[in-house]
């Protein structure tokens, strides 16, 4: 090759925050790592799983993942778990008692907050868990810090025998930057030591441990003041002193290079003496934190005057220009003017389901049914709430579709007497938190039809494996959950469990009609793989015969992104009613031949295509 790039690549890594955390966990000698995929944290375990010499797994959910990590820590091994913010809600039951026992081998929990909500149902601040569980919170500001702080987190965890939260945000996870690695460590597990007073948390054993937990927190407070993770950076412009953490630090440095800054790497417990030291030398203290005013509230409670969310937004991402506006407000100045073109009005481009996605047929069918309430769940199929289907009525949390459906059924009054109640959930979400919901439906006799969309992948996060795919995190063969038998074991009558092909619209329609008519729990399982995984096999594509297309637009209701409108028109029906016409073509280079659009096409204008050369620049698939 002989060019400069090769040499440069050898001694410098360009890593995302997720990549950096994975490299650091490896270099810290982690023996066991467990996670459930979730944006923006997913890649951490994907990268870790590629490293030899450690055990990595996709767990069914975050609580199990954290428990796996705790078990490894009890054996005296270094252990790691990663999740998105809502994942820690699920895992919190384990966290809240694991903090009482403390850990043996270093245990680090990487939790990624989707600040700005690029792919989540809410925005929440995981730093709260540090306060709630009395454990330290570390907040890196870029990829290099993500690496260094992960390493530091393991040392801190073992020094204080405490689980450590590494709080990441989207703008850490999904930013690439230069990273220099440190020498790797090895850690042999020290072995499990039987100690019921420590590990068996019955009241008699747990009570004496609570004071120890608070003593540990006090010691961590002292550590926060001494730790190199927290530092004051001096600056000549003493009008405002900034207290900041995480990616917000970079925005502060960018917007106010001359200001004094307290950079919090370990943001819980707070080093109050460092804050007072900074405050003493500046006119105003401004706390810059994403998203909740946690540091601000604690400073105010400690009697330290400061400003924060009264001039800065509480929602979404911060950025240098957001800080400049906030500071202008604080100083009573006009907001800084931006010399730029105005934003242009362009149609939105919301995420859509893929070409030939097996969910298309399900939502087409659901959209054709009347008098139906569709309780939804979390995954690609949540997109069924959008155009053209508008066939999903709720989405709250992982696995919630079934519990909510049961509640709807039990609460229904005269007004909803004739409504059909359907829950829609994917295979991985069902494994994660859905099973118990179905159990409740059978146990308590709910009149609910569950659509279990088994596409053999965690589709939304990129097709990861799970207990329903028959493969482990390395792609190696693993036992595959047998959904019909599982549903039967959960109490659904055998004859009420139907397995259907989601590409066969008449069968889907008929089955859904039948099962929603019967007043007892039923499950309809669909069995086609996600088009993004290897299990999916393309079939010959289709095309539209232009002369045969009548412009009825039925095929557009399938919602496949490979179908394009070529011309719109209007027609008067014999009844005198005016109807809109949309003549279509199929992007044959993108079509994979699922045949869904062929079925509602009355004039049979959609036929197998002759081989074509793709005509558009980089169309999907």
């Amino acid at each position: 090759m002989g060019n400069a790039l090769t040499a440069a690549a050898a001694n410098r890594l360009f890593l995302s925050g997720n990549d950096a955390v994975a490299h650091a966990a490896r270099d810290a000698g982690v023996r066991v790592a467990a996670a459930y995929p979730g944006t923006p944290s997913t890649e951490i375990l994907e990268v870790l799983a590629r490293f030899p010499g450690l055990y990595a797994e996709w767990s069914p959910n975050e609580k199990v993942a954290l428990e796996v990590a705790l078990g490894a820590s009890m054996m005296g091994a270094r252990a790691f778990s990663a999740m998105k913010h809502v994942g820690l809600n699920v895992a919190s039951d384990a966290l809240m008692t694991m903090t009482v026992t403390g850990v043996e081998g270093g245990l680090v929990i990487a939790v990624a907050d989707d600040v700005g909500m690029s792919s989540s149902q809410n925005e929440q601040d995981s730093r709260f868990w540090g306060r709630f569980a009395h454990v330290p919170v570390l907040e890196p500001a870029d990829s290099q810090e993500a690496y260094d702080m992960t390493r530091a987190a393991f040392r801190l965890s073992e020094q204080f025998r405490v689980p450590v939260i590494l709080r990441l945000t989207t703008r850490i996870c999904h930013v690439k930057g230069r990273v220099e690695l440190s020498p790797a460590e090895t850690h042999e597990p020290t072995g499990f030591i039987k100690d019921p007073r420590r590990w068996v948390m019955v009241p008699g054993n747990a009570k004496p441990r609570l004071p120890l937990m608070f003593e540990r927190e006090a010691a961590l407070r002292t550590e926060a003041s001494a730790s190199p993770l927290n530092r004051i950076e001096s600056g000549p412009d003493r009008r405002i002193g900034f207290v900041t953490s995480g990616p917000a630090y970079m925005h502060v440095r960018e917007a106010f290079p001359d200001a004094p800054v307290l950079k919090l790497g370990m943001s819980y417990p707070l080093p109050l003496d460092l804050v007072r030291e900074l405050a003493a030398g500046v006119e105003t203290l401004l706390v810059v934190e994403e998203t909740e005013p946690l540091v601000e509230a604690e400073l105010k409670a400690a009697g330290i005057a400061c400003v924060g969310k009264d001039v800065l937004p509480r929602l979404g991402e911060l950025a240098p220009e957001v800080l400049r506006r906030g500071v202008a407000r604080l100083r009573g100045e006009a907001p800084p003017e931006v010399d730029a073109l105005p934003a242009q009005q362009v149609f939105p481009r919301p995420p859509t389901m893929c070409v030939a996605c097996p969910h298309l047929g399900i939502y087409y069918t659901l959209s054709q049914l009347k008098n139906i309430i569709i309780s939804g769940d979390i995954g690609c199929y949540t997109l069924g709430a959008g155009h053209p289907w508008n066939a999903l009525d709720t989405c709250i949390s992982m696995g919630a579709s079934m519990g909510m459906a049961l509640g709807m059924d039990k609460a229904r009054g005269e007004v909803d007497k004739n409504k059909k109640i359907v829950a829609v959930i994917g295979d991985s979400t069902f494994m994660h938190m859905g099973m118990q919901g179905l159990l409740d439906i059978t146990y308590n006799g709910g009149n609910v039809t569950v659509l279990l969309l088994d596409n053999r992948a965690v589709g939304m996060t990129g097709g990861q494996d799970n207990p329903a795919t028959g493969r482990d995190i390395h792609g190696a063969e693993a036992p595959r959950v047998d959904f019909p038998r599982m549903c039967e074991a959960l109490g659904v009558k055998k004859e009420r469990i139907r397995v259907v092909d989601p590409y066969q619209l008449p069968v889907l329609f008929k089955t859904l009609r039948e099962e929603t008519k019967i007043d007892e729990p039923s499950v309809i399982i669909t069995d086609r793989p996600c088009v993004l995984i290897d299990d999916y096999k393309k079939t010959p594509p289709y095309a539209v015969i232009d002369d045969a297309c009548t412009g009825c637009g039925n095929c557009l209701e399938v919602g496949c992104p490979a179908i394009h409108v070529t011309r719109r028109d209007k027609a008067i029906k014999p009844s005198g009613k005016e109807v809109d016409l949309a003549f279509v073509r199929i992007e044959t280079s993108a079509c994979t031949g699922c045949g869904l659009c062929v079925q509602p096409c009355a004039p049979k204008a959609i036929v197998h295509a002759a081989p074509v050369v793709p005509v558009r620049f980089m169309s999907r698939n």
Binding site: K176, H251, A340, L341, V346, P350, M353, M460, R568, F617
Partner: protein
């Protein structure tokens, strides 16, 4: 400290926006620059908007480019280029592919695709180079060469010699797909020539 260079690359999921920006970052890193690259990708895997921010220079702090601060906007799809035009520093150049990819919300008639996004860009008064990258990619027989064509086209807009970016493309293919190395070199050169022909 020297001002950082800010490059915004936009398009839709599946077009290779993130890969192209990654290669651009590799070129900057090879020259010893600090660099940060980030995406506001969201659910881009599902055909959504993808916009990659690349900042490089002596030291990069915040990874995001603010409105009015992009030194170069590269668009892989015409309406997407228009969507991000407000990010440009006044007077900064725009390079866009003329391909139009309309999403289902347009196909089902809920929203309209602009009649002439390239014309709208021109009317904004930005220095613009617009061409059909698909056409060039297909001359080499593979639509996926489109992002290499775009890299070639942007290579004379950078604060370093075009050859550095060409080497970065070459290094990537030498490492990952050696059989595609030669055709990517040619696609890069063709994109570069096409853009050069559009100047003035």
């Amino acid at each position: 400290m020297q001002k950082n260079t800010n490059i915004l690359v936009c398009g839709i999921g599946g077009q290779g926006v993130m890969t192209a920006t990654e290669i651009l970052a590799e070129a900057a890193l090879a020259l010893g620059f600090d660099a940060k690259k980030t995406e506001v990708a969201g659910m881009s895997q599902r055909g959504g908007v993808v916009v990659s921010h690349l900042r490089f220079g002596e030291r990069v702090l915040s990874p995001q480019i603010a409105q009015g601060e992009a030194d170069l906007l590269v668009g892989f799809e015409a309406a997407e280029t228009l969507r991000w035009a407000h990010m440009l520093r006044p007077g900064a150049p725009v390079l866009t592919n003329t391909s139009r990819l309309s999403p289902p919300v347009v196909e089902c008639g809920v929203f309209d695709y602009p009649d002439d996004p390239v014309g709208q860009l021109r009317a904004l008064g930005v220095p613009l180079q617009a061409f059909d990258a698909a056409e060039i990619a297909l001359e080499f027989g593979d639509i996926r060469l489109g992002n290499t064509v775009m890299l070639g086209a942007m290579s004379d807009h950078l604060p370093f010699p075009a050859e550095v970016l060409r080497d970065a493309v070459d290094a990537r293919f030498a490492q990952r797909k050696p059989e595609k190395r030669d055709v990517n070199r040619r696609a890069f050169d063709a994109g570069r020539e096409r853009a050069a022909a559009l100047v003035g």
